[in-house]
């Protein structure tokens, strides 16, 4: 049973990390969902025991199943769910402002924007420079005169 858990957790985690490394933001979110499920499954596997239901009062000599791992797993699942919703909202925001969910396209657009800003800056400087030079020239003329 432990081996099955280990293999499944390993496969989920591996697939999750593979998706995390993709440039498409939706795949990144999906990758994170897989990683979160791998973590939940690890919690489950960490204390899975056979026994009677852990409801008080406990009757009979049979050992009680560990309720703690299930409580932890449920909590982890709920947190994972909330986090997925937040991430999807962020992806939605990014796609609305950047018109893409592809990281490569987004960084290309960002680079173009930075270039444009730099060009504007340069143009601004050039516009200013001749006029300061003229100003200095005039000052110089005044001194010589």
């Amino acid at each position: 049973m432990n081996l099955v858990f280990a293999v499944v957790i390993g496969a989920l985690f591996g697939a999750g990390v593979y998706l995390l490394l993709k440039p498409d933001l939706f795949r990144v979110v999906l990758g994170l969902v897989l990683v979160s499920n791998a973590a939940s499954l690890t919690l489950m596997a960490s204390g899975l025991t056979r026994g009677q239901a852990p409801i008080a009062p406990v009757t009979g000599p049979e050992p009680v199943a560990d309720p703690l791992v299930q409580a932890m797993t449920v909590t982890a699942l709920v947190i994972g769910f909330a986090v997925t919703a937040l991430l999807l909202a962020l992806v939605f925001g990014v796609s609305r402002t950047g018109h893409s969910v592809d990281l490569d396209a987004l960084s290309r657009a960002e680079a173009r924007e930075a270039e444009a800003a730099e060009a504007r800056e340069l143009a601004h400087d050039e516009e200013r420079e001749p006029d300061t030079r003229e100003h200095q020239q005039r000052g110089h003329d005044e001194v010589t005169r």
Binding site: V28, A38, A39, L43, L68, M72, T75, L87, V94, T97
Partner: protein
């Protein structure tokens, strides 16, 4: 007894109420400030009680001690809680005075305060995770709160990287539970002592990676500059002064208290990673001109100091780690809050922060560095002392570079790059107040040093108890 739960019970309803209302209205900001002040007052009382009377416990719901979830506070947790809430309060006051433009900001700050307070006050590993996730999710949302493409992108990166860290933490909790059969920190520490290295070392490494990601240590730091650069100064102060404490506290609590044998085993590795972090952070910071970027790389370097202190170990090392983390959090909050304001008063406040980071007396930072020196000398490590000296000199260089770049240039040239209006009196007041705290702690450091030593004792006691 119930003093432990009260700060949480103040913050929780206030956070929910603020979440339902429009945070852009001034009244809601004031409500959030009031709730945070009340919680901070209660935490200060708790800190005083813990320092004089020893650690306190509360088992939730009146269950027997080994069944219920335990809240447990010692000097380390209490002082980190007080510090984090003070930084959040200062940042929130400044945000309210600047004018909040995002609806959720006061509520998110309160949720972050709730998460941080909870995780510093809990004695249960899984509740630690829950509170930690609460604080982190508020941080992701705060990063995105502005709504521009850059902020959303930064928030996405922040969230994805740190969530991988969170899930690694969760896996480590599962493994630790499997190995020790309990979630209660003291019992885990006792059960973990006889574990075989084959079991304990991978668990310890997973915890280390999880907290390394939060703290922004060198190989896990890549998300940090992007996030720090895209947030506003108050949010940056919250991240650098309050949220980053999770990493330092987590390393102290899980390393020094729960898995002390494994910490000792990996001491050399910790010192090496810490050293690389210090060098990398300082050199990158020197190469930057943007204040927030410099502060981000400086945070990476300072995470390294905490790690070196932990690696040196012993009572002196732990005390140094605590004192340095505390002083560093205040310094970073001060530098972030003063970074975009103008005027001579704010410039002096920034200067005090810079001197404190460099470790020049009479500032709080001096005692952080002095404690590290002491730990280095105690451990007989010449290399560490030299490293601390070089690190301090480098931080002096990069902070004065940005001081010069931001404040010693002609006004017109500066304002073309970063148009900022003159700060109002309240905003300047917050920066000056923090600077005075830094100075006061430098002139009268006994409380800081006593609390640091006390916290280190409490930590060592958790691990030693049978």
């Amino acid at each position: 007894m119930s003093l432990i739960a009260v700060p949480l019970l103040v913050l929780w309803p206030a956070a929910i109420a603020a979440a339902l209302l429009d945070g852009r209205r001034r009244g809601i900001g004031v409500l959030a400030i009031a709730a945070l002040t009340a919680a901070l007052g209660l935490l200060a009382v708790l800190l005083a009680a813990v320092v004089t009377g020893g650690p306190r416990e509360l088992v939730a719901g009146g269950w027997p001690g080994d069944v219920g979830i335990r809240l447990r506070v010692d000097a380390l947790g209490a002082v980190f809680a007080v510090l984090s809430c003070s930084v959040l309060l200062a940042a929130l006051v400044q945000a309210v005075l600047t004018g909040i433009r995002s609806r959720a900001m006061p509520a998110l700050t309160l949720f972050m305060a709730l998460g941080l307070t909870g995780l510093f006050l809990t004695g249960d590993i899984f509740s630690f995770y829950v509170f930690f996730e609460l604080a982190m999710i508020s941080a992701y949302a705060l990063t995105a709160a502005g709504g521009s493409g850059r902020e959303l992108g930064a928030a996405f990166l922040f969230a994805v990287v740190n969530l991988v860290g969170s899930f690694l933490f969760l896996i480590a909790i599962g493994a630790l539970y499997r190995a020790t059969g309990t979630l209660e920190m003291e019992a885990v520490a006792a059960q973990a002592a006889p574990l075989e290295p084959n079991t304990a070392i991978p668990i310890a490494i997973t915890f280390f990676v999880a907290f390394g990601i939060k703290l922004g240590l060198f190989p896990f730091h890549f998300w940090l500059p992007t996030v720090y650069v895209s947030v506003s100064p108050p949010v940056g102060a919250m991240f650098a002064g309050a949220l980053a404490n999770i990493g330092a506290y987590g390393l102290l609590r899980f390393g020094a208290a729960i898995l002390p044998a494994e910490l000792e085993f990996s001491a050399t590795a910790l010192i090496v990673i810490g050293t690389v972090s210090i060098a990398y952070g300082a050199l990158q910071a020197i190469a930057r001109r943007d204040t927030r970027e410099v502060l981000a790389y400086s945070a990476i370097g300072h995470a390294g100091y905490v790690l070196v202190a932990l690696g040196l170990g012993g009572p002196a090392g732990l005390t140094a780690a605590v004192i340095f983390s505390l002083a560093n959090a205040i310094n970073k909050a001060l530098l972030f809050l003063a970074s975009e304001l103008r005027g001579p008063l704010v410039a002096s406040a920034f200067l005090i922060g810079a001197l404190s980071v460099a470790g020049v007396p009479p500032t709080a930072g001096f005692f952080g560095k002095a404690a590290l020196f002491e730990a280095g000398i105690d451990a007989g490590s010449v290399a560490t002392v030299a490293l601390l000296f070089v690190g301090g000199a480098l931080s002096f260089v990069y902070l004065f570079q940005i001081y010069q770049h931001d404040r010693w240039r002609p006004r017109a040239e500066r304002e073309r790059e970063m148009p900022t209006g003159r700060a109002n009196a309240g905003q300047r007041g917050i920066a000056v107040a923090l600077a005075l705290v830094v100075l006061a702690l430098g002139l009268w450091p006994e409380p800081l040093l006593a609390i640091g030593e006390r916290a280190a004792q409490d930590l060592a006691a958790t691990g030693a108890r049978p």
